[in-house]
Amino acid sequence: MDASFLDLLMAQQEEVTEAEGGGGIWVVADVVNGAVAPVTLEAIGAARNLAGSLGAYVYAVLLGDGVSGLAPTLYQAGADGVRVADDPSLATFAVEPYLEVLSDLFQAEQPEVIIFGATPQGQALAPRIAQRMGGGLLEHVVAMTLDEATRTVQASVPIYGGEYYEIMACPQARPQVLAVEPGAFPAPFMDPYRKGEPKSVEVKPAEPRVRVLGPAEEFTPPAVPLSQAPVVVAAGRQAGDFSLVEQLAARLGGRVAGDRGARDAGWISPEQIVDIRGVTVAPQVYVAVGIRGDTFHNAAVENAHFILAIHPDPTAPIFQVADLCIEADPKEVLPALIAALEQ
């Protein structure tokens, strides 16, 4: 079959038409650096899954200055309708202007479900909308199921940062507002044939009530000890080039550390030794570069949530505790890893 014919056929079939009568699942988009944030697309994908069971439409709301061009992305991700509030007063995020637009829109449309990203913007807006409309709100949602009989969304909320999940629902309150965790839901299939006509939303001026005075140059946050650092990049005897370890740490926003071998090599100070005889760590991410991993070291990283290990010896004990293992010389992998993280 001729590909151009297929294009034509699909385009006709996928022209989205909107339903009347309110309700629906609404996703409020996050726009970062002029692009739709991945969490918004993930939220639309999750909304589509709910929409099938609910028999509802999925709408997306775009706010910003010069954002109209992003509407096709939202359709492709699965939105049935898109509302755009495109106005210079929305150029940078501020609670009051954004809130007024959303509030008027949602009062008119009476959504059944509203989904935000669990981002700074979502964190600021979702509770305001939920409170204003008498809705329930669950934040940092990582999974959703539907209680079809009562049309209630049951959301999994991570407890203690994800040790386990509590399944929560707001069965009586409407709308049901959810803030979904970035990366928790799969990115949807971007269907190039899905298209639609976005509607613009009236923007009434609202003065931000928080004044930004300028950079807080004198401010430094309280020092976090290595034992509580969220990201640690540690070197071992086989690290090879320590400056690459430092570069990787800088790239990941992490702290540099090492095992006793790194101390012997003179790369780190005694306070940076990760070992049960030194510092015990519990970061979100621990990268062990050229660390063989004896019991004393491995016991000290027991509470790390994720460990990436790079070591040339396939029998190195570090590979028994690491989540992800790269059997290679760090000298070869680190430049590629640093480059890959820069993309």
Partner: protein
């Protein structure tokens, strides 16, 4: 019968545990290595009110009773034996003597700043010729008008190197000896004639001051006689009973920490393909020591409860001796076991088991050797049957 802690004591434990973990534990290795007194920690403890934990609020204390004091010592003992020892010497025997036998004016003048932590106390009993044999002291006090002139000296005085106030026992009537010839004095370290002769370099509790004190024509005003002239021995024995109970509490904390470390390593260290926890030899040792620690806990807090409910008769002396003797031995056994489970790592200077091991030993010696405690216990038991034990 009710074995639960009151809400106020639970809240106190939360406070003390948080303080111990945040402020005391991080310094434990360093003060040991550098042989430093944790002055800053003592200041902070005083600021929160913990240095007066068991003293009445009218004299600047917290009024949390002996139970509260045991909680403090247990939680400090769990993270740093040196700090627990500093605090024990200050509250448990130094200031305790003034609390037990001081008159209102002495309590106002001395106990209040001690309870607030503005000043630090020490307890001056031991001499080179009189340790366990406390009645054999040689420091003399001679009456001169409104004052007493003290000559002599004390050894192994915890906090002695920096204490502001020392409760000192001196012979006021050599003919009468311990029964009527010994008097307790409140001495200020700033007075002329008070000298710190030397600091001991010790195997353990290296974050404490253990000093030799010398008194040369030290003039003490008569109003600083603690209790009655000639009854110093009673004052000191009562203080020591209290100190023995709370030393037991500190040992409980040390033993508990050792058990936690032993369990941690037993579940971490793998040999012959399994964690040590799967070895029956390890399981039995852990089960034994855990049982002893629970028995110690019951003993310590029961005796604390007796003090708080006014039951401080002869039975108390015996039970306090048991707390000290059993506590120090359980702690030593627990730490010895932990060290054995840790193997080579346990003896290296890089790891805190080695410090705990060195720190634990003194508890079997000071505040009355465990041999003395056994004499106290046995003589109480035999007394019930009409037998008077000769030392």
């Amino acid at each position: 019968m009710d074995f639960t802690f009151s809400p106020e004591h639970q809240a106190l434990r939360r406070l003390v545990r948080e303080f111990a973990e945040n402020e005391v534990a991080p310094l434990a290795a360093e003060i040991d290595r550098k042989h430093q007194i944790p002055f800053e920690t003592l200041r902070k403890l005083g600021e929160i009110g913990l240095l007066g934990v068991c003293f009445p609020q009218e004299y600047g204390g917290m009024g949390a009773g002996e139970t509260g004091y045991c909680i403090l010592m247990e939680e400090l003992g769990r993270v740093c034996t040196s700090t627990a020892t500093n605090v024990g010497a200050h509250i448990g025997i130094g200031a305790m003597a003034i609390h037990l036998d001081g008159n209102p004016e002495q309590k106002r003048k001395y106990l209040t700043p001690l309870a607030r932590g503005e000043k630090i106390a020490a307890f001056g009993l031991t001499e080179s010729n009189a340790g366990s044999d406390a009645a054999n002291i040689r420091t003399r006090a001679v009456r001169e008008g409104d004052s007493w002139i003290l000559d002599g000296g004390k050894v192994y005085i915890t906090n002695g190197g920096f204490a502001d106030i020392v409760t000192v026992m001196a012979v006021t009537d050599p003919a009468l000896g311990a029964r009527g010839g010994v008097t307790a004095f409140i001495v200020e370290a700033s007075w002329p004639g008070f000298k710190v002769a030397r600091e001991e370099d010790k195997m353990g509790i290296r974050g404490t001051s253990t000093a030799e004190l010398v008194f040369e024509e030290l003039r003490v005003p008569h109003e600083n006689v603690l209790g009655k002239v000639g009854e110093g021995f009673v004052t000191f024995m009562k203080s020591l009973d209290m100190g023995r109970l709370t030393l037991g509490a500190a040992c409980l904390g040390g033993a508990q920490a050792a058990l936690e470390m032993a369990v941690y390593w037993a579940k971490t260290r793998r040999q012959f393909g399994v964690e040590l926890a799967h070895k029956q030899s390890v399981q039995w040792a852990i089960a034994n020591i855990a049982t002893e620690i629970e028995a110690l806990r019951s003993l310590v807090y029961r005796v604390a409860w007796m003090v708080d409910t006014g039951q401080t008769g002869q039975e108390f002396t015996q039970l306090a001796a048991m707390c000290k003797m059993y506590g120090s031995e359980v702690a030593s056994r627990a730490i010895d076991l932990a060290l054995q489970i840790y193997g080579g790592l346990g003896v290296t200077r890089d790891f805190h088991i080695e410090r705990a091991f060195r720190d634990a030993r003194i508890a079997e010696i000071f505040e009355g050797t465990n041999e003395i405690q056994r004499i106290v216990i046995a003589s109480n038991i035999f007394r019930e049957y009409g037998v008077r034990i000769r030392p």
